[in-house]
Every structure is written in C-alpha cells, then in structure tokens.
Amino acid sequence: MRKCALANKNALLAAMAKTAKLYVPTDGADEKSRDVNSRLAGAYYAEWKDGAELSKKLNTTRSPKDFFFPQTENMMTFKMTGKKLEIFDTRREHENFILFGVKACDVRSFTVLDNVFLTDPVDSYYANRRAHGTIVSMACTKPAGTCFCRTFGIDAADPEGDVVCWEDAEWIYLTAKTEKGEKLMAALADVTEECADDAADAVKTLVNERLDKLPLADLKSDAFGGGKTDTFFNDPAWNELSEACLGCGTCTFVCPTCQCYDIKDFNTGREVIRFRCWDSCMYSDFTMMAHGTNRPNHVQRFRQRFMHKLVYYPENNGGLFSCVGCGRCLSRCPISMNIVKVMKKLGGNKNAE
C-alpha cells in the first residue's frame, strides 16, 4: 500500500492525468447557473483540470456506466447508391482513460454489465472502452441515507477496482488490485510513499461502523434470486406498487446496471448512421411490434424491470443481482417508488425486519 498526503491530491491527480485522460467527479453547475437554477447542482464526471475542485458529494447523479455504455453511440455507417450498398466499420480503438473516485456500488455495476456485454458474442463497443479504462475506486467514508450496497454483498469499505483508495483526514491511501492498477501505481511512485498494508484499516473500520447504522442496513436480498419467478410474478402487490408510476425512464437511466438499448438509423442525407441508445423497459413502445406488444399494460412493464434485477438476471448470472444498492433511484424517482419499496413489499417480513 502507498499513500499521498491529501494536501498533495492535486499532484496525485496530475500524475494520473499524465498517463491517460482522467475523469473525476465535479460539481455540475457553475455559480452563474446556480444563481438562476435555484441552487441545485448534482455531481458529474468531468475531465480533470489542474487545480479542479472535486465534488464533496458521495456519488455522481448519473452513474459512470456512460463511460463504457454511452447514452448514444454511433456503431457504423451506410452509403446507398441506387441498389448498391456500402457498409463502413467506424470503430476505432478508444483512447486510454482513468475514472477516479468510483464508489464500490458502481464498480460492481461494471461486473454486472460485463456479464452482459462481454459474454459471447462480445460487444466490441463496450469491450473497446472497457479495455482502455482504468478504475480508481474510493471507499465511502460517508455513505448516504439511501445506500444499501451491503444488501447485495458489496463492501463500501473495501471496493473492487484496478486501484482502490481510502481517505482519512490527512492521507489518501492507494493499493493496486489488478495488473492495470499496478501499471498506474508505478506511474504514481513519485507522488506517493510506501506505507503499511494495514494503514487504511482504521478507515475501513470507521466505514463499516457507519454502514451498520444506515437506515437500510437491514434490507435483505435473501427472498429473491434465480428460480423465484413463480414466487413473485403473480403477486397482486405489483398493481399497487406500479399505481402511480409515470412510466418515465428516470430510474432506468440513472441506474448503473440498466443496459437495455435500442438500435436506430439516422439518415443525414449523405449517409445513414446506425447508432444505439439507451432504452427503457418502462416505455410503452419498448416491446411494440407491428402487430402489438407482449406487455400492453403498465403493471407488466413495471414488474419486468424489478423481476429482471431481482430474479431473471441472478438466474442467468450465478446468483449475482443486477442491483448494486447505489440509491440513485431512491433519490431521483419522480414519485419516490423504488427497488427498496418493491423488495420490502414483495419480500414481506423477511426483508422488512
């Protein structure tokens, strides 16, 4: 393990930025925008600039899934001349980049996405970005009231990642967990110093104590998992849970693990660009075909999203849930309906204790 004084954090980031494009969480709006925008500003990943102030917020409004699975992405182009067609592969090798300050929940979300995009046949767009990204994660010193990553076996005190960091009042501690991480750490030798392997233990203990006290600390996922389709699919509670749902895509789009997408063509007049974009199973046209849809009502669409996260995905992925407890849907849903409420309602006492 190595460490760097917090006072030298800028130098640490500068050293990182020397090796690849560096993205850090920053506060969204500038003062002028805030003045008009009722003081509200979320945190967003932005390219690091020398001296940049990092956001003090626990996590970013949007999840970092954008870096590997952007909201829209051009995939290929076509040219049509009379009856003749040409296909152009527009893929280029992605530049190297580093994501700094990714929280444990979001790091796990990459594993959830990997299981979809990196299984055969590999999604080359995702694989390209993933291969060139280095994840520097950060333990959550102050988990939020809406956090429940532990429910899904994620340790916010000891995240996964290529390089893992912990912060206390004076130091930032770093350790590499992968080969990519080792490479990055080697480049940071001048701005870090060797320290004992247990140097971050006090931070870990503190984080664990705080995780114990979270309001959602006792939420359990045991009732859910693969093979539970029959247990939950016909539960009448879905009607009540989905009653006020607007059918918007907010939960889907802020979710770090939602990965449904649409493929569309855009004709510029000169060429046709085939691109993909995020889509949501909550939208009424998601499964619409020429002769109708297999999920005509809103209850079904609402149910699909949660069943997928809590039952279908685990069934196909060795029990891994496709929720990481980041709490974004808890704070962003326009009607405050979310996976915690769904789990408590459906899981009954087993989850509500």
Binding site: L85, D89, V122, D279, H291, M307
Partner: protein, 281 residues
C-alpha cells in the same frame, strides 16, 4: 493505447446481402432470395434459426430463414408485409442490396429429438415460413425420419404460401401426407374447408408423432389444446415464439421473458418449456 488490444469481431455489424429473386406468394407475402454480392450464401444455419435483415435508414428486423440448410447456394425469406421494414422490402426490386447478419437463435432439434420420429407439421398462414426450412430438411434426409404429415391452412387459397412447392414437390413425395385447408368455401377449391385446430382434431393423428406448430397465437393455442385432447403430451409439441428484437444476441433486453431471451434461447421452444415462462409472450 494498449498495444495488446485487438478489436473483437462485432456481431451487430452486418454484411451485404443482394436480393437475386423475388417471388410473389400471396397478396401480402413475398419470398426473397438473398446471397452475398459475390453470389454465395451469407452463412450456414440450422432449421428454425433466424437472421436480421435491414434496409439502412428504414430499420432492421428479425426474420426466420425459410430455406433449408441443405440449400448451399442461397437463403430465402418468406416475408409478410406488416410494418416499416417489411413494407420497404415488398417495394424493392431484384438486384437491391440490403444487410444481413446471423444466424440467430436455437434451431429445431432435427438431429436429436426429431431423429427417427414420425413428424407432424401444423402451420397457419405465414407460419409456414419457419416450418418450410425443417420440412425440406426432413425431405432431404428422408431416411432419418418416419412418416411426415403436414397440415397447412390459411384464410383462402390465395393466402397459401409456397403453394406450388407444396403441390409439385411435397404432395408428390412418398411417405408425406399434405392436408390443406382454407377458412371459407371458395370457387374452384375442392379441398378441406375449416380452421386448422378443428381439422387437426378431425384428422385424429396417432400420439406417437412429434408435432411442430407455427402460426398466429390464437391458432397455436387452440391447436395445442386439440392435440392434447388427442392425447399428445406438451413434451411432444414444439413451436416458435416471436417478440420484438433489436440485437439478436441476448443483450438489448427487448425479447426478455422470464430468464429467457427469445432471440438466443428461442425462437424454438417445446410447449412444456413455454409453460415455465411467465405469461408474457
């Protein structure tokens, strides 16, 4: 840049397919013959598998491959006009280039579960499209299968897809019984009149056959019930499901039903497997 990085092959990038023949089957079904620009078959497939065809700027859609894998020269797609992409396909002329990628999905277990069995094919309307591939595969390897019965119905005589092939090839084969039916009486038709599910019951097949159903959902529902009345078990009956698809490789999430993705775990399902899916297909 990572020197060791190698861009993986991308399943979503199609190849060019040239339409070399267009056959008008019914007022709303045409069969398109597709090869690569150098005149070859775009890829190999098994009966029941599908391919994504697209017209850039219009869209991409999944179609079952109608021709048999034993045809090594080209692929055929029987397509009913029913939406943006199919409208466009119906308007195009021979020589048009489109895109094609695949094959997608599982296939009928022609070399395993079907081997040595008496086969009963039941299709309604455009439902013949995916079955034509299996039927011609079975005809090609005739000695691997027992007796073959084909029940095929549509609204009218004009709506029977591949009528000429049925008359000149299927009906003349030894050991193949073709039972045609249309929904309503019409002049010049001296065959059976009535709906497919009822006709299947009337014909009263023995229960040692393996049945394959394909057609509109309502036909599948009643035919399956009819077969069960005759004593067929769900384990003996196969069908195909159709849901909206975009990627074809189990990633975009659209055709997800329960823990299955119709594009990769289907489209072929045994009827007892369908029972295990949540009722959302």
């Amino acid at each position: 840049m990572l020197s060791e990085f190698k861009m993986p092959k991308e399943a979503l990038i199609p190849v060019i397919g040239e339409v070399t023949d267009i056959r008008i089957d019914t007022p709303d079904v045409k069969t398109f013959r597709v090869v690569t620009p150098d005149g070859k078959k775009a890829f190999d497939h098994m009966p029941g598998q599908c391919a994504m065809l697209s017209v850039p700027g219009v869209g991409e859609a999944m179609f079952s491959i109608t021709s048999s894998p034993t045809n090594t020269e080209y692929m055929e797609f029987s397509i009913k006009k029913c939406g943006c992409v199919t409208d466009w396909l119906h308007q195009m002329e021979v020589g048009q280039q489109i895109t094609i990628r695949g094959p997608y999905g599982n296939a009928f277990p022609v070399d395993t579960a079907f081997a040595g069995k008496d086969m009963l094919f039941i299709a309604g309307g455009i439902g013949l499209a995916p079955l034509r591939s299996v039927i011609n595969y079975c005809r090609h390897y005739r000695d691997r299968y027992g007796k073959i019965d084909i029940v095929y119905g549509s609204r009218s005589r004009a709506d029977l897809v591949d009528y000429n092939e049925i008359l000149t090839e299927w009906m003349t084969d030894d050991g193949i019984n073709v039972h045609l039916t249309i929904d309503r009486e019409e002049e010049g038709w001296d065959g059976h009149v009535g709906f497919v599910p009822n006709y299947v019951k009337e014909l009263g097949f023995s229960t040692d056959k393996t049945a394959i159903l394909c057609g509109p959902p309502i036909m599948i529902k009643f035919t399956l019930a009819g077969l069960q009345e005759l004593g067929f078990a769900k384990e003996q009956v196969y069908t195909t499901l159709e849901l909206r698809m975009k990627c074809g490789i189990g990633k975009c999430g659209r055709c997800n039903v329960g823990s299955k993705y119709v594009c990769k775990d289907g489209p072929v399902f045994r009827c007892d497997e369908i029972d295990e899916l949540p009722d959302e297909y």
